[in-house]
């Protein structure tokens, strides 16, 4: 669908013409820019303890626009650094889970028979474990030392939904004439999967991936809040809350600024996901039934915490 140059150019143009798509894309690019450049522009380091006795729990001021936290670290610096950490973890986790999930669904759907049946039963098992509980358990067993470890765990628990989606797609594609003719021409299974099947499932997968970035940010922040995410003093968005709220229940700035950062980011990815769906599958705006892409959107949007 996005194979030839003209197709992809018109796709980008259509996305930019979509008002929600334009704005959400701009917001995401801005957030990425903040994550890359921001931490270098800060007056204070994200983990600098500025002065225990007199500088903790300060409300916003010119010196500290977002205030300071319970152990007197500059909150602006922590939120800006959090953009780098949280977006980085999420991007990595989603890249991992989409790759693994697509491969799993592809193999399962292509193989068929008992291989498919076994792989799907195993997937049923994974899908019935609530993701948050699963992550808490994995974190407890592994206790990852770095943000890479956290990204790995989050990614490892996120590929089940996309596998099921890809497999369902493959099952319908297998009937298609061009697949039959490719097989008749003697294409090898790997070539079939890579050249013929994979490009045709990419569209719903892209929508799914965009929406899952938002979900993963939510999950990662929640886990860090619980103490099963990034380790202190790492300033991921969720970790800023860890310990802060009980120490300073009235410090509204500690609640507000990192919370807004999370909400704006997640919202931007959700809106972009919806816009991508509109652009990639305009049928769903008019016709009554909308198989693949709409399904990707629903299954992703049900994944919140799931």
């Amino acid at each position: 669908m996005t194979d030839d140059g003209s197709g992809s150019r018109s796709f980008v143009r259509r996305l930019l013409e979509h008002p929600a798509g334009r704005w959400s894309l701009a917001t995401i690019l801005l957030l990425v820019l903040v994550g890359i450049v921001g931490p270098h522009l800060m007056r204070y380091g994200p983990n600098d303890v500025l002065g225990m006795a007199e500088l903790h729990n300060l409300p916003p001021s010119w010196q500290h626009p977002f205030g300071t936290d319970q152990i007197s670290r500059d909150l602006l610096s922590r939120v800006v650094t959090g953009a780098r950490i949280s977006l980085g973890i999420s991007a990595l986790a989603v890249a991992l889970s989409i790759t693994v999930g697509t491969a799993y669904g592809l193999v399962s759907g292509y193989a068929g028979g008992w291989v498919d049946a076994t792989m799907m039963r195993i997937l049923d098992g994974f899908l019935s474990i609530p993701r948050v509980l699963f992550l808490i358990a994995l974190w407890t067993l592994w206790t990852p030392a770095s943000v890479w470890g956290v990204a790995l765990l989050v990614g490892a628990t996120g590929w089940f939904g996309v596998s099921r989606l890809v497999r369902a797609e493959i099952l319908t594609l297998r009937q298609a004439t061009f697949i039959e003719s490719a097989r008749a021409l003697g294409a090898s299974p790997l070539r079939m999967m890579w050249r013929h099947l994979l490009p045709n499932v990419m569209t719903p997968v892209i929508v799914f991936a965009t929406l899952s970035v938002g979900n993963v940010i939510l999950i990662e922040s929640g886990l860090s809040y619980l103490g099963a995410g990034t380790r202190p003093p790492t300033a991921s968005w969720g970790a800023i809350f860890n310990g802060a709220m009980s120490a300073a229940p009235n410090a509204w700035w500690i609640l507000l600024f990192p919370g807004l950062a999370i909400i704006i980011t997640v919202l931007a990815f959700n809106v972009l996901g919806d816009a991508l769906r509109d652009v990639l599958d305009p049928r769903h705006l008019h016709a009554s039934h909308t198989p693949q892409i709409a399904q990707a959107a629903t299954s992703a949007s049900l994944d919140k915490n799931g």
Partner: protein
Amino acid sequence: MRRRFAARLGQSIVVTFIVATIAFVAIRAAPGDPFSYDRLSPRARDNLRQQWGWDRPVPEQYARYLANIARGDFGYSLVKQEPVSTALTQALPRTLLLACTALVLSFAIGIGLGVLQAARGGWFDRVSSAVILICYSVPDFWGALVMLTVFALWWPLFPPGDMVTAVEHDYMAAWPAFIDRLRHLILPVASLTLLSLASIARYQRAAMLDVLPSDYVRTARAKGVAERGLIWRHAFRNALTPMVTILGLTLPAFLGGAIFIERVFNWPGLGTLAADAIEARDYDLVTGTVIVGAVLVIVGNLIADLLHAAIDPRVRDQHD
């Protein structure tokens, strides 16, 4: 119907077995074991390993693990200093109370809202869709923290946490004790409901928009059925069927949300149990919560599937 039930029950048991196996593999693949912390001398560690059977061959451990789980024995919790099954049976009803109340409320409100959005359209649809999308993007723990700060600290309408007022509750008469329970329940349930109804309303709205252009709706309208009857009697009924599937699919999300909300409101359920296990690296407790959480989801899916068959003849006839 009976055959379908038997088949689905068998499937559920297989899935439960797979979940238990996944948990076992995760434990064995993890570095170290429950006794690998620094304070133990190597001697004591070996003794403990022997005592809990960690020195046996892996297949034997696996068989013993499955047999124990089948008997409802999930091992011993180091944090709680009691059998995991005792801790779980205590926590489970509390989580179910929280999650099921919120589930019912958010489905009722979410479905109503979704139908209204699709039926009304216009600015109401646009504004409420935007609000719903924002609600959907709020992390559960953050939403709960805001509720707690606003309605329990700044404007203390409700208690800031726990299930009942400590000590005092034991001396209350039946009615005040009930009210006390209710007051503690409101904030957690309201948080979980508000944060969960967004995806339900979104889906119900889409299901209604799918149904509204159908021929039978047009026919009914042409025959002069009033708009309200048309929406609720004709369109809504058919747009409700997919919601049963959604019920099954949202269960893990409800449990996940409940975990965060329990932590914020200090609600002593499964989530608090799991969170307590994190720092102590309490192996048996985390595996126990994972398996019980998964079984809840599996049972919920079984119920949703049977409900689906009960209300949709096309599904019912497919398998019988």
